[in-house]
């Protein structure tokens, strides 16, 4: 049994040696010279291997296969990209819509109340600052115009009221503040002049035509 194993192992090595030489294109005789005791067995085994390889060499795909593969690669490139885009579009449309809806829902649920509050605050702020003014200077500058409009509606003399308010402020203010009040009074007078010039601008045909030309320039 041990002798049989040694023989088989040695023959296996001889076969491997012969196959390597054969692969390198060297003559089989070299193997026979090296392993003369296995000459007949090796010749049979190498003949079997040769028959296998002959069968293998005869096998070839049809020549049309190359054209088929190349057209397949082209189709896979163009078709795949088309399909990819189509399928992606088809898939994206509902996904996109869902995403947008979901996003819109979450966004609206967050921003809508804030927006409403912001608009309300803006309206309140405009009306508050427009009527009362947060900034004293702005109040003094804007108040005559607002008062003028209101008082014009009520038929009261605007210039007189404005000078009265300036005077009242001057009486109650300290001497340091009097200078500021004087300057404010002069600002008010300018504002009144501006208001009256705006009024006159809108009164005549000439003013309207100027406005139209200004709009045209803009």
């Amino acid at each position: 049994m041990e002798h049989h194993n040694d023989h088989e192992q040695r023959l296996a090595e001889a076969l491997e040696y012969a196959l390597r030489l054969h692969r390198k294109g060297k003559p089989i005789e070299e193997t026979f010279e090296r392993f003369p005791e296995y000459r007949n067995e090796l010749a049979d085994l190498l003949g079997t291997a040769d028959r296998l390889q002959q069968t293998r060499e005869r096998l070839a795909p049809r020549k049309e296969l190359m054209a088929s593969i190349l057209s397949g690669t082209e189709q896979s490139v163009t078709g795949a990209s088309e399909n990819r885009s189509l399928s992606q579009d088809a898939r994206r449309a509902p996904e996109h819509t869902v995403l947008i809806n979901s996003h819109m829902r979450s966004t609206l649920s967050f921003f809508l109340p804030i927006g409403v509050v912001a608009v309300l605050l803006l309206v309140f702020g405009i009306s508050y600052f427009g009527e009362f003014g947060g900034n004293p200077l702005a109040t003094n500058q804007l108040a005559p115009e607002a008062n003028q409009l209101k008082q014009a509606e009520n038929g009261l003399p605007t210039e007189e009221t404005a000078s009265q308010s300036v005077r009242f402020s001057a009486d109650t203010a300290s001497s340091g503040e009097a200078l500021n009040l004087d300057s404010l009074a002069s600002d008010e007078a300018e504002a009144l002049q501006t208001t009256s010039s705006f009024e006159s601008f809108f009164e005549g045909e000439e003013g309207l035509s100027d406005l139209e030309s200004l709009l045209d320039e803009l």
Partner: protein, 191 residues
Amino acid sequence: MNSAHFEINAEQHDITDLVRQARAGDTDAFGRIYEHYVRPLYRFAYFRLKNQRDAEDITQMVFLKAWKSLDRFEDRGYPFSSLLYRIARNAIVDHWKKKKDTSLEDHSDIAETLSDGNDHPDLSLEHKDSMEKVFGALDALRGDQRDVILYKFVDDLPNRDIAVIMDKSEEAIRALQYRALKALRERFQEV
């Protein structure tokens, strides 16, 4: 041995260059890759499927999948042939699974799916007859013997690679190869 080693390296280098060119969209380079591998891959498939149409389908699929995998190939650093043969092997396993067969290593039902005789019409009747006998003898072998024969004499793999594939030592592969070839010779004599 050294010269062969250098030849393999040079060939591998050429293939790597061709793959790089093919990745850049050079279809001629892909054509050269095809010419280099189409016959070995077809034979790999035919010896396991024994049907020209199926073998060509598998070969075509291998190249199409390889074409699509070109971008990923270089990043992995494997020889390009390993990618091709892996795709081919998986495709053949899938083919047998679809035919309610077992794995690539178990060809017990292969004889039932032998070619209908219309394969390779360019071959002479004598060659076809010889081919039938070879396939008949291969079918009669034990699974591991048939595998080592196919890997060694059809796929031209070195013992080192066969040892890895079959999870055996190189020495065991050498012994198996001897016993398989001896068994095949006996089958030839019977047939």
